[in-house]
């Protein structure tokens, strides 16, 4: 199959080339073995992730584009739910629970669940996307964040919202445009029932334009800020914008 005349004019050269190529290839493979990049590369990756946040927020995201809605018959039979506390977070005294709306706002609020239920109501059946790669369809009921924003009247300096929970200090930071998306809601119901404890009762953030980890469960407050708030997973390296 191999003719003589493809023999190289200088065999050493080709061998050298091959050795170099093989060594280089092996070296890069060995270097990559179960590697996370180390302290030298990790900051660069996080910088790149900020660029991707910017692209996701300013270029790919549209406040007018709505996520597809599904028929309730398409609901998934299961939707996993995570919390970070050792035990499922439960309120000691649900009657005293309030959603505190504070920070850079003209009208700070303290809302009961009844207050929220009395506000404009949104219901949709959408697909949930987890950063891990799974997806599931469920129906959510709640009040659009935009309705709360209308009531608390943020100051012009407010550019972000920090959502805090009673799940061991879990929190997330959101940009204002994502929060004002018509499908971003404070959900108090799921699949025609009150929000289950496993999914963040009494109140959680929900939006089909975000990955699951951005949708704070077990909400206690939303705080308007001028600086970009971090969050539980975001501080550990997960993309800050987390849009889908």
């Amino acid at each position: 199959m191999i003719d003589d005349h493809d023999g190289p004019p200088a065999g050493v050269d080709r061998r050298g080339f091959l050795q170099l190529g093989v060594a280089g290839g092996l070296a890069s493979l060995v270097a990559a073995c179960g590697w996370d990049g180390g302290n030298a590369v990790r900051p660069l990756l996080l910088d790149a992730s900020r660029v991707n946040d910017w692209v996701g927020e300013k270029i790919l995201f549209s406040r007018h584009r709505l996520a597809r809605q599904y028929d309730i018959r398409e609901r998934s039979t299961m939707l996993p739910s995570y919390f970070i506390s050792r035990e499922m977070p439960l309120l000691q005294d649900p009657a005293t629970w309030r959603l505190v709306v504070a920070g850079l706002v003209r009208n700070p609020l303290s809302l009961t669940l009844e207050d929220l239920r009395a506000m404009p109501r949104a219901t949709y059946t959408v697909k949930h996307h987890c950063v891990e790669g799974w997806s599931a369809i469920a129906t959510w009921h709640g009040v659009p964040v935009s309705a709360v924003v209308e009531r608390c009247q943020p100051l012009p300096a407010a550019r972000y919202i920090r959502f805090d929970s009673f799940d061991s200090g879990y929190s997330n930071g959101w940009d204002m445009a994502s929060a004002m998306h018509p499908q971003t809601i404070l959900a108090y119901g799921m699949n025609d029932n009150p929000l289950p404890a496993a999914h963040g009762a009494p109140l959680r953030l929900y939006s089909p334009t975000k990955l699951g980890y951005k949708m704070t469960k077990y909400l206690v407050s939303m705080t308007f800020t001028a600086e970009r708030p971090l969050g539980y997973w975001e501080e550990q390296g997960y993309p800050w914008f987390g849009g889908v």
Partner: protein, 243 residues
Amino acid sequence: MTVPSNGPAKSAPRPPVPPAPAAPPVVKRHHWVVRLTHWATFLLLLGMIASGLQIYGAYARFGDRGGPSYLNPFDDLAFPKWSRLGGWLAGALNWHFTLMWPFMATGALYLCYLVASGEWRSLLFRPRDIRGAIEMQKYYLRLRKDHPPQGKHNPLQKLAYTFILLLGMLSVLTGFAIYKPTQFSWLTTLFGGFQAARYWHFWAVWIFVGFLIVHVMLVFVVDPASLRAMLSGWYRGRFPSHD
């Protein structure tokens, strides 16, 4: 031309050299853009695959929760540590979403070169190559004795290189479909939904890996001179002809 019989022991007397085919001509084979994008794609693709295998481990199945899973021999499998990049899900995502930019830029640069140089004519498989591909296949199956005449690439090579270009595009498009399934919902729908797009994105990996193995094997078995050509740009081997 004859070797003195009292030469060094290792150079045993050779038979007189026949008039012999002239040494193969040295021809310029690959533009620097081609060489650069070839090796950059190789490294970037390794990084994309390795970080992708780490990401896969976070949910090693396909199909909506509570619904049927797609057929997948790698269900619930964690790929070996040496094959993964990123350490954990967040690290792997950051690698994947960082490398995707140079990966796409490299592909775009290569496509621009193909168009601007006119090289696409000798590389892309077109309907007129079908006949030549059959002849070439016959030659490989020993149904035909002589090597069919060819230009820079034979029709089967054209088929392979066109296919791998399309596979690269499929990887990018399915990637976007699962990166932003809401913003690119039309793309996600085109691939049959989020989990289906994820599935095709994953299968593209194994086609890339299969291509890589065959590609490297053929280089060494059929035309080792082509490896050097891809490094230096100059080709000195069996198939020097050009279109």
